[in-house]
Structure formats: structure tokens, C-alpha cells
């Protein structure tokens, strides 16, 4: 499902101009990472995608739906949003019930819900923890439960707000795997992240925001190659990319494979 953003501006009641004219198109099935310093407007931007925030001016279209004309509950059938802190959404007495909550709200049939829940559980490797109380899980697994509860909604667009913050390497790999699976299913994935390695390894397109404006928007390779411009929003390209630059490699490299290939 296509996302079209047209000259989006947003001002908080405090007078802070968080978004200052953003125009952007995200095609169906794209994997997009949004990077930028704290306060650049990343969260403010993605909260417009499911109507949690309404534009002060400009418009946001999800498919043919204008977010101004549809409720958040309605938009939830098109845009899934995993919040940063799982503790701010988990409430059920066991993981299974928690994950059913979203799809049930969307009014799917019982069979479809069962199927979606099973799939989400296996994707997030939670299948053996279905009956556990979410609060008995470790923070990393709570994060996965939150992920699963949104994935089970089977929305064409999924947003992750800093999914890898505070996660160990094993769990980061699990999250990367979830994103890869969603890509296979043709879903759009939009991720806010400060984890630039994670960004380089898993996303085709990178958008860098700075002070409510788009600083860079393009393929991960192009964007991560622009070290000086990224520095304006306090983003460092991955170490390998920078090393490749220093070594004078012709191509911008993003990960180990590309780095080794370029060396040969």
C-alpha cells in the first residue's frame, strides 16, 4: 500500500514546529529506515501515518485514505505501529490473549485470527511462551510480544519505533529476521532507528531527518555514503562504511560482504 505525504507540517501546542514541510512517497513493499538526531521529528512523522497526529497543514494518504478522514482505530487495519516501550501496551494475562487483541479489534474471523496469531508467534519465536504472563517475560521477550501483537494484525504497512534499543545481538537478529519475513510477504516496513548498523544491514531506503525537514532520502548506499551531510543530524555511517571511505574504495559499502567484495 502506497503512502503519500504532501507538504506535511506539524506544530505542537507548545509552538514547536516539529515538521516543516515534508513531502514523501513510500511505495508498497518498501523497507525504509528513518534516522536523525533526537528531536528531528522522526516519531512525530510516523505518528501521522496512522492518524495519531493530524497534520497542521498538508496531507497524509495511506492508499486512497486521507488520515484526516479516518479514525485511528480504522487506520489500524492498514498501519500497524509497534511502540518503543512494550510496557506501554501489554496488559493481558498471557501472551496468546495479548496477541489476539489487535486482530480481534480489526474484526477478523476466528479462523483467520487463529492463523494470524500462530504465524506471529512463530515469527517472533514466542510459540512456547503462549501461556506466559507478559510481565513474567524478560524485557527482550516482552519486546517480541509487542512486535507479535502488531504483526498479527496483518497490516500492509508496519512501523517500528526503535525496535533494537536495549536489545542484545541475538534479539536484534530475531528482529531483523521478522523484518525480512515481512519483506517476503510484500509488506511495507518503516523503522525509526538510532542503530546505524541495523539500518545498513536491513533497509533498502534511508531517510535522514533534521529539524523537521528531510535532509537525505535515497538508497541506503547513497545516504550512508554522505558522511558530512549525515553529521548535520548527528548520524555516523557504519564503521565499515567509514573505513571503506578511508581506504579509498570506489563503492560505498554497507556490510561485511560488500566490504570484503570491494577489497578483492
Amino acid at each position: 500500500m502506497k503512502i503519500e505525504i504532501n507538504d506535511l507540517r506539524f506544530t505542537y501546542p507548545t509552538g514547536l514546529e516539529a515538521l516543516q514541510g515534508i513531502s514523501l512517497t513510500i511505495e508498497a513493499g518498501e523497507q525504509v529506515a528513518i534516522v536523525g538526531q533526537n528531536g528531528a521529528g522522526k516519531t512525530t512523522l510516523v505518528r501521522h501515518f496512522n492518524g495519531l497526529l493530524q497534520p497542521s497543514s498538508g496531507s497524509v494518504l495511506i492508499g486512497e485514505w486521507d488520515t484526516k478522514k479516518h479514525s485511528v482505530a480504522k487506520l489500524a487495519s492498514r498501519v500497524g505501529y509497534v511502540f518503543q516501550n512494550p510496557d506501554e501496551q501489554l496488559f493481558s494475562k498471557d501472551v496468546g490473549t495479548e496477541i489476539r487483541f489487535g486482530p480481534r479489534n480489526l474484526g477478523y474471523s476466528k479462523e483467520k485470527i487463529d492463523e494470524l496469531v500462530t504465524r506471529a508467534l512463530s515469527l517472533t519465536e514466542l510459540s512456547d511462551k503462549t501461556d506466559t504472563n507478559p510481565y513474567d517475560l524478560s524485557p527482550t521477550w516482552r519486546k517480541m510480544a509487542a512486535l507479535a501483537s502488531v504483526i498479527a494484525m496483518d497490516t500492509p504497512i508496519v512501523i517500528f519505533d526503535e525496535p533494537t534499543t536495549g536489545q542484545d545481538a541475538v534479539n536484534v537478529a530475531r528482529i531483523a529476521n521478522v523484518i525480512a519475513e515481512l519483506r517476503k510477504e510484500g509488506k511495507t516496513v518503516i523503522t525509526i532507528t538510532h542503530d546505524i548498523d541495523f539500518c545498513a544491514e536491513n533497509f533498502d531506503r534511508v531517510i535522514a531527518l533534521s529539524n523537521g525537514k528531510i535532509l537525505l532520502d535515497g538508497s541506503a548506499r547513497d545516504v550512508l555514503g554522505q558522511e558530512e551531510i549525515l553529521a548535520q543530524t548527528y548520524v555516523d555511517p557504519p564503521q565499515l562504511t567509514r573505513l571503506g571511505k578511508r581506504l579509498g574504495l570506489k563503492e560505498t559499502v554497507r556490510n561485511q560482504d560488500e566490504f570484503l567484495k570491494a577489497l578483492k
Partner: protein, 258 residues
Amino acid sequence: MHERLSFHIKRDSVLHRLNPLTKLTLVLALIMVAFTSPWYWTPHLLFLFVIIPLSFIGKVFREFFFAATRLILPAAGFLFLMQAFFQPIGEHVIFKFYFLDITQESLMFAFKNAMRVIVMVSSFTLFLLTTHPSELMSDLTRRGLPGQFAYVIISTLQILPQIQSKSQTIISAQRSRGLDTEGNFFKRAGSLVPLVGPLVFGSLVEVEERAIAIEARGFTSKSIKTSLYEIADTSFEKIIRWGLIIIIILSIVLNIWL
């Protein structure tokens, strides 16, 4: 963003600069005099010629007026009506409605009592408008108020705005999962569970973390603590306070004696 829980308005005025204890003593003195003075017009005059001018001196008249009309007047008005109707005193009946009757005496009595309440609440409002809660608490702790007591007050004032913003986030998160927070009463009541659960649990965790954090900085240590903030207290203010205390004692004594 959510710093609006305390009434405090940050401005520079004589009233703001006064030591919190002096202001607190003044409030107590005003209340004591208003309630114990044998002269009928005392509370009225105190309000007109002490409290209102003080709100100008404190540069908070606008906010004070706002609080007075929105908060204090309705409450005092209600009290006035109740007492006017239900005080069974006096013979000069002005108005009669079934078993309810208003007499000249009950009207006077109600007016005075409502005015007393106005003096009490408005002087406290003025105090809160011109005193930052943490300034008050650190001053009182320095004078021997137990730290735990100050902590309860201050942490409540700090936690509430946090809970407010936390509940906003939770509502957003659940709406993103398709929770419909609109609709009829039963639907709304049902949608409370996913909101209250994370809020209560999260708040409990937060309270515990706070307790651990302050304990890690020696909260219950018995040694004498220094304060980062110097709160001014002049000898002139001490004299004023003693004067006010004498007034308070006098008004109590007079009240018992007369």
C-alpha cells in the same frame, strides 16, 4: 510540557522572594484572624484590603482572579446558599419556601462564613501561586521537617504529570492496535482495561525505581545534608513572622477569653 500541576507562576516579585515560611505564617495568621475576630466585617476587609492588594504585589492578580472566579466563588456560593437556607436562627424572615426560610440573621451569618472560607482558600491560593513547592519543601526540611514527608508531597506533584503523559502514550499505543475509544458507555468501559493495566503496572514499577534511585543517593542517611539551593531568610522576615505568630496567639486567646 506537563509542568502545570503546581499552581506556581514563576515571576519576580517581593512576594515571590519572601521566605516560604513567612508566607505560610502570613496565611495562617489571615485565616486565624478571619475565623476568630469578633467583629463582623473582619473577613470582608481582610479579603479586600490585604489579599487582593497582595495579589497585585505578587504580580499574579490575573491568575488569582481566574482561580477565584472558577474555583473559590462557586464553592463559597454553595456554602452561602446552604447556610442561608438551613441556619435556624433569627426572626426577620425575608423569604419563605415550604419549610425553608431565609432570615436576615441567617443571611448575615452565611455571608460571614462564606467570606471566611473565601479568605482561607484565596490566601492559600495566593501562597501556592507565588511559592514553588520544592522551595517550600526544602525550606521546611531544612527547618526539621522529616525528609520522607517532603518526598511524599514533592514526588506526588512530579509523578502526576508523568502519569498523565504516560497514559497518553498508552492510549496512543492501544488505539494503534485498533482499540476504539469512542462509542457507547459499555464499549468505552470495556476499553479501559487495556489502558489501566499498563498504566498501573508501569506506575508501580516507576515508584519502586524512584525509591531505589533516591536511596542510592543516601536518602535515609542520618547525616546532615547540604542543600543546593540557598533560600533567603532575613532577620527582618523573622521579626515579621514573630509578629504574625503573636497575632495568631492573640486571636486564639481573645476567642477563648471573650
